[in-house]
């Protein structure tokens, strides 16, 4: 490549000093040459990508932050602040014709924040929601952080958490009862997500074991259940929950809609978990079953101590993906009239004071879901690496 690399015959054998690599292949220049400009096609792609980023990113930052308004009474106030920035008399001025909104009106989100978080949960009782969020943080921490002091106690607490929180929110412990149709926003998403995740995992594992059972009746029932649930969309099942399920109950039973939806969501994701876990079970070599048998372990002990720990370890990515899917699918409840964050956002958009600010609302909800789901998937990657004992 360069002159410095040509061997100098004057050196004694073995005395040749180590030359530094050519400048063009190291450092920033080398990286750019290798990763951005390695072939004509790559050069073209880099140029196109840079042009795209150059046009999109500045206008995005401008819309998101620079021109954005954070404090306003209503939509028109927001827009006037954008058109006449720094003008103390902006409220008395008319908007020009054909005016286009140059920035985000985040005042809308701030204005609706408590709806987005609590739904219509009664104002004086909101400390219960806050307390249950705090309890959720402790429960999640105990599941995720394996060096937590007194972890065993906290794990039992995490198992009890859904019941404790449910009781707290609906109004046990002598608290005033709150109707479940007032639940909404992020609170509703978390209720659906956490309950679905906690109950669908054990149910899914049982279904997976049932599907691999040697007893034909058990196996066929599990297969029928799993294939039926996986063959229909969640929307249809939610419609079943909202319209049909009451007919299945003894006459006169009042069956809360939230509970019906929770059951459907749990069954739905359990069927998917079952298939993921079945994949994991199939990945366990037969020798493991035989080894467990030869130790004299019975079916349940063999599964609990030998088979499932290994099978679940290889199914982690699939299980977490199912959880992420479940978490995202909680938005579908808006179609049967429940107000999750997206439902709150849609109904806020119908308010004449703020109408037309769809971008802000959708972006806010998208960021909320992105943060939750992306951290779940990152955690699963971390867990997979941590539990990886192979070579």
């Amino acid at each position: 490549m360069s002159e410095s690399n040509t061997p100098n015959p004057n050196y004694e054998p073995g005395a040749h000093p180590d030359w530094p690599p050519p400048v063009k292949t190291t450092g920033v220049i080398g990286w750019v040459r290798l990763n951005l400009l390695s072939s004509p096609l790559n050069i073209v792609m880099t140029v196109v990508a840079l042009w795209f980023l150059g046009t999109v990113i500045p206008s995005m930052i401008e819309w998101l932050l620079i021109n954005a308004v954070w404090d306003a009474e209503n939509r028109v106030d927001c827009w006037k602040q954008m058109t006449f920035p720094g003008d103390p008399d902006y409220l008395s001025k008319e908007l020009p014709r054909g005016w286009v909104q140059p920035g985000g009106c985040w005042a809308f989100i701030e204005n609706r924040m408590s709806l987005f978080v609590y739904g219509f949960y009664p104002e004086p009782e909101r400390w219960r929601v806050k307390l249950s969020f705090l309890m959720l943080v402790v429960a999640v921490l105990s599941v995720l952080w394996d060096k937590m002091p007194e972890r065993k106690f906290f794990l039992w607490y995490a198992v009890a958490f859904p019941f404790l929180a449910g009781w707290l929110l609906i109004g046990g412990f002598g608290l005033s009862p709150v109707e479940t149709d007032l639940f909404g926003g992020i609170l509703l998403t978390l209720i659906l997500g956490v309950t679905g995740i906690t109950f669908s995992l054990p149910l899914g594992i049982m279904l997976a074991l049932g599907r691999r059972s040697k007893m034909p009746v058990v196996r066929i029932l599990c297969v029928l259940f799993i294939e039926f649930i996986r063959g229909v969309p969640l929307i249809a099942l939610l419609f079943v929950a909202s319209t049909m399920l009451n007919y299945f109950m003894p006459p006169g039973t009042v069956f809360d809609l939230l509970v019906r939806v929770l059951i459907m969501v749990t069954l739905f994701s359990a069927a998917y978990i079952a298939e993921v876990v079945r994949g994991g079970l199939q990945g366990i070599p037969n020798g493991q079953h035989e080894a467990a048998d030869s130790l004299g372990l019975n079916y349940w002990k063999a599964n609990r101590l030998i088979i499932l720990p290994q099978a679940l370890k290889i199914s982690i990515p699939g299980i977490v993906n199912t959880f992420i899917g479940l978490y995202k699918d909680t938005t579908l409840v808006l179609i049967i009239g429940m107000l999750d964050p997206l439902g709150i956002g849609r109904s806020s958009l119908a308010d004449a004071e703020w109408a037309g600010l769809a971008r802000e609302v959708y972006l806010f909800i998208a960021i909320f879901f992105f943060i939750s789901c992306f951290s779940m998937s990152r955690y699963s990657i971390y867990l997979e690496k941590k539990l990886h004992t192979g070579h």
């Binding site: 040697k214 029932l221 063959g231």
Partner: protein, 399 residues
């Protein structure tokens, strides 16, 4: 099951002894399970009967033959108006579901393969940009994507009067995307038959070419020959029959466009959102599949003297496809099922017609939901059966 057999307790009654034996125990468990399941089913049926009786409802599918009295704005395949029956409305809904599912599957596959290959590009910038897009799309609910695209179409696109005009043939407005519609004239049938025959010939040629390749290793330019046969034969037939195909070009008349074909905003939004959302999953499947083919395969192919394009065609792609197809099939199933979100923006698919308006009008929850569930079950089983068949064929190549 895993327990050692034949460890019956030496003493104890009959039940304990039966329970101690693995085979009899499994029979007992199955009988109990079956009894419980049937008991629950019987209870449910009884409850339904009582509830129906108290509400004065009946279980029958007669409502299907009653006029529906509601309009469906988007019915590209069959004629429908509000005097038609609920059954016809259901058929329109099913066809709409199939249309949006099939077109989303095609677009999602194309986009997914492009993104998956770009994710493997050595160009760092492109690689990262696609990564950011994929992660952001995957981690946001599909319903939000659908609302977002629908919102963009109906609020930021111009009304028909100021339509975005592309070469006077395509018009983009907030009422939909207007495209030319093909009009078949006399003799067009012959062209279609010739096209069908050409496709059959090409499939025969594929089989023959594969046989020759398996036996002798000789490779025919399959793609060019098939393209030539199809385009050539159809083209000749087209000109011989006197060009029996014309295009009806959309044009602005009054407040809206006439002629041509309109892709309604609801269809467009659902189609685009379903496509790019699932494409971001397909991209990861494709990337994983290609990475799963070990680098040694490429090196081995180079070592026996194959050029890069032949290596890709004969070594990498067939092995990668074997990894890609099973998850791809379940993704296609997901697209079909997720098309049910149509109801959120008012696209009239099977859930919105029979499971939505018909249900509201007739109050036949049980019957309409059964129809909806059976429809989806049928298509899901159809897709998974055909994908299993395809998968088996790919597997046979294994030695």
């Amino acid at each position: 099951m895993g327990a050692p057999t034949g460890t019956e307790p030496s003493s104890g009654n009959l039940i304990a002894r039966l329970w101690g034996n693995e085979e009899t125990r499994s029979v007992i468990i199955q009988i109990v399970t079956l009894t419980v399941v049937f008991a629950v089913l019987a209870l449910v049926v009884r409850n339904v009967a009582i509830n129906f009786a108290t509400l004065g409802k009946s279980f029958s599918f007669d409502f299907l033959f009653v006029p529906s009295a509601y309009d469906i704005t988007f019915s590209p395949f069959i004629d429908y108006n509000s005097r038609d029956t609920h059954l016809r409305a259901a058929v329109v809904g099913i066809l709409n579901t199939l249309l949006v599912a099939a077109s989303s599957i095609v677009l999602a596959t194309v986009l997914g393969f492009i993104m998956g290959i770009l994710r493997l590009s050595s160009n760092w910038l492109v690689n990262r940009m696609v990564y950011v897009f994929i992660e952001f799309t995957r981690n946001v609910p599909l319903l939000l994507h659908i609302f977002f695209v629908h919102g963009i179409i109906i609020t930021t696109l111009p009304p028909p009067k100021q339509a975005m005009n592309i070469a006077d043939t395509f018009f983009l407005t907030n009422r939909g995307f207007y495209v030319p519609a093909p009009v078949l004239e006399a003799g067009a049938g012959v062209v279609v038959i010739i096209l069908g025959l050409a496709i059959l010939c090409v499939i025969g040629f594929w089989h023959w070419a594969k046989q020759v390749q398996d036996e002798t290793g000789k490779i025919y330019p399959v793609f060019w020959v098939s393209a030539g046969v199809i385009v050539g034969a159809t083209g000749i037939a087209y000109f011989v029959m006197g060009m029996p195909l014309s295009w009806s070009i959309p044009a602005l008349k009054g407040f809206n466009f006439k002629d041509g074909m309109a892709l309604k905003p609801e269809f467009l939004a659902l189609w685009l959102a379903l496509s790019y959302y699932h494409a971001s999953f397909i991209a990861e499947i494709v990337r994983g599949g290609i990475l799963a083919v070990s680098h040694g395969q490429t090196e081995a192919a180079y070592a026996v003297g194959l050029r890069p394009n032949r290596t890709l065609q004969l070594v990498i792609v067939p092995q990668a496809l074997r990894v890609i197809i099973p998850p791809l099939a379940s993704m296609y199933l997901n697209v079909t099922k997720n098309s049910s979100l149509a109801i959120a923006i008012g696209y009239m698919d099977v859930v919105a017609t029979i499971g939505g308006i018909t249900l509201m009008q007739t109050g036949k929850e049980m019957e309409t939901m059964i129809i909806v569930l059976l429809t989806y079950l049928f298509f899901s089983l159809l897709i998974s059966a055909s994908m299993n068949w395809f998968n088996r064929r790919m597997k046979l190549a294994e030695r």
